[in-house]
Symmetry: C2
Subunit: 403 residues, 2 copies
């Protein structure tokens, strides 16, 4: 009511840290952000004036939330596609739309679509729930063991992914248990990759695209712990190929908003029947601000959160130019002592240049509760600084072995 | 309740754009910000979850607001000193404290204190309300005409400041009218300055200080329209002198939080009895985030808003290192057409690197409703880009004559 005329209201379903950091960008743009959170204490609900509390997987709550929004977007992939289609049918645009988002919600849908237009993917196959073992055996025979079992839907941070070494009793029991629980499974080639990369792009409804520098992501126990921008030692050719691939996927899938493409940089010579043989395979897709893009808050002229808002509002996209030679981001995970605030004193006194981002979440061991970012010219020094700050915020001391 | 343990609640009295932008920094630090706003539609009230609506000049509202805050700070200088002392007496620290803040609330108190410890100020004198004209005549005779008349309290953006050319009938009527309205007046030397500078520093209760690069501020009709960091062509010696002066003032006055010192860079040879003769005179003080520091959001490693929070929380201060060779900020003023949002499209398409900050305020002609920032190496280009964006957001076209 008291907003300036014509300023659209952006609704974001989900009250996590991505919505929280989107609020920082919405404040700058003067765009009202409305958040659908599961509880008033969620990360984003603590920092947004216009919070609606509800279940973003429940149709009624979603529809009530969307009413009065000019556009709806998402903090995560877990809003059911049919519900998003109902919102779209009510006249409120969703960005990304349900058709595009399906490819970030179902790994089998994604693999089928990507391989159909020639995007390089690991070999994969569905495992029919009625009779999975013959398909699994055939896949292992063709592509070799180990293989990767994946739940087609609902996984994140390493959850929903299992490595199977052979067709022994453990694998048989695992597959049987998962199918009994109603999990739809697929199998993928276990790719011997050199490292993991991520390509972050934005695409607007108008069709404008923008690509960020390609980053290296470092995982530990399936959780991203560190992101380095740009990926050190990546050839200009492979970086351009990764950017082009991500822009092409965004275009082919009709993504509106951000698209993060998690990639394997493979060891040459690479085996497997798909892919161009030039060293990149698509691992996963996400259509929202992504952990691999948190470095952009300080490290790029336009943060991924602002870029996502610009894209979903169909505003012209912002510059993705880096603001420093290197930017290193390290995730802060919860440790044993939940009093993280008291540990700010050491971290800030030790390194006045480290940027601390905490998500207002209660600390639990291993939970992502924040991240730190450092920028500069000396990559080894930056990585050490980021590790020190992240370790200290977690443990209250520097833990080289946790880095 | 659901905040992580030990995390302090910062209360900010005032719901303007300074509190709004402080919220962006509070989000990153994971620190809950509580705002006392005059109405739910105020700039900061639109973007903060914990808003209390009340009159920050009314003691009861202020006391109710402060209860449960771990520290209280201010978006402006208009909270009465006696009320702040009541909050302090209740056990809630105020930063800045009432004793320090008095120097930003009363220009005569400030001048007396600064000259007492040798900070360079223009010549000045109080004008006794009972019989002002003899004192004014004596001041004009000693320091020459014109002189500057100032309301000792309550002015901002050129309000509360008048230039008097002589002791003629206009001046006599003006002084008579102001005194009849209950305005306390002082007179200052009209300083022939070369340009205006600003020194921004932070000081924590622990006593740590940090100084930002000295900026040039460009005013039009008493309103700051442009800030250039660092001030072009300023000698290293004078820049260091300005930083030292601001740090010394912060220390002498016991400021906690930010201190902005507005300075005149005078033409040599400078006349006037005070000052070191080296070209700087203190114009005004502010003890809060300041318009002259908005450039730090992107242009310094630590934004002034984060720095203010760190200082009032007695956390170690952040690096003030610039992130680019030059940063230029231009204020966006309201124009005739309040539909500012529609003008984003041109501005963002024209210049993907311009950073737009809008305050969620209804546009009224001449009102500060936002600012834009650009960063880079070519100062002339940056000033042109900032002017273009600010003019276009105001007028819907580039207006060279308004630059």
């Amino acid at each position: 009511m008291s907003n300036p005329p014509q300023t659209p209201v952006v609704g974001m379903a989900g009250g996590g840290q991505l919505a929280r950091m989107t609020q920082q960008a919405a404040i700058a743009l003067g765009v009202p952000l409305r958040v659908l959170a599961g509880a008033p204490g969620e990360s984003a609900a603590k920092v947004v004036a216009d919070v609606r509390v509800g279940d973003d997987r429940a149709l009624d709550d979603l529809m009530a939330f969307a009413k009065g929004c000019d556009v709806v977007t998402f903090d995560h992939e877990h809003v059911p596609g049919p519900h998003i289609r109902e919102v779209e049918a009510s006249g409120v645009p969703c960005r990304p739309g349900s058709a595009a988002l399906a490819h970030a919600q179902d790994k089998l849908v994604m693999r089928d679509r990507l391989t159909a237009f020639g995007a390089p993917c690991p070999a994969y196959a569905p495992l029919p729930s009625a009779d999975p073992m013959p398909a699994l055996e055939a896949f292992g025979r063709e592509h070799g063991w180990p293989v990767v079992l994946k739940a087609t839907r609902g996984g994140y941070d390493g959850k929903g992914v299992w490595v199977a070494d052979n067709l022994g009793v453990e694998t048989v029991e695992l597959v049987g248990r998962l199918i009994a629980e109603g999990v739809d499974l697929m199998v993928e080639q276990h790719v011997p990759f050199r490292r993991e990369l991520a390509a972050l792009v934005a695409r607007s409804p108008y069709g404008q695209g923008a690509a960020y520098p390609i980053v290296e992501t470092v995982q530990k126990d399936g959780i991203c712990v560190e992101v380095i921008s740009p990926a050190p030692g990546l050839s200009g050719e492979l970086a351009a190929e990764a950017q082009s691939l991500a822009l092409r996927i965004a275009d082919e899938l009709g993504v509106t908003g951000l698209l993060a493409v998690e990639l394997f940089e493979t060891e040459p010579p690479r085996t497997g029947r798909q892919g161009s043989g030039r060293g990149l395979l698509v691992n996963e897709l996400a259509m929202r601000p992504h952990n691999s893009g948190h470095w952009t808050i300080e490290g790029a002229r336009t943060s991924q959160f602002e870029q996502h808002l610009r894209a979903v509002l169909d505003l012209p996209l912002g510059s993705t130019e880096p603001t420093a030679r290197y930017t290193v981001m390290a995730n802060v995970l919860g440790g044993d002592d939940p009093d993280v605030y008291s540990r700010y004193f050491h971290v800030m006194a030790h390194d006045p240049g480290v940027k601390v981002h905490m998500y207002g979440k209660e600390s639990r061991p291993g939970r992502k509760i924040g991240h730190v970012t450092v920028l500069g010219d000396d990559l080894a020094d930056l990585r050490e600084r980021a590790r020190h700050a992240a370790d200290y915020l977690r443990w209250g001391k520097a833990m080289g072995e946790h880095a």
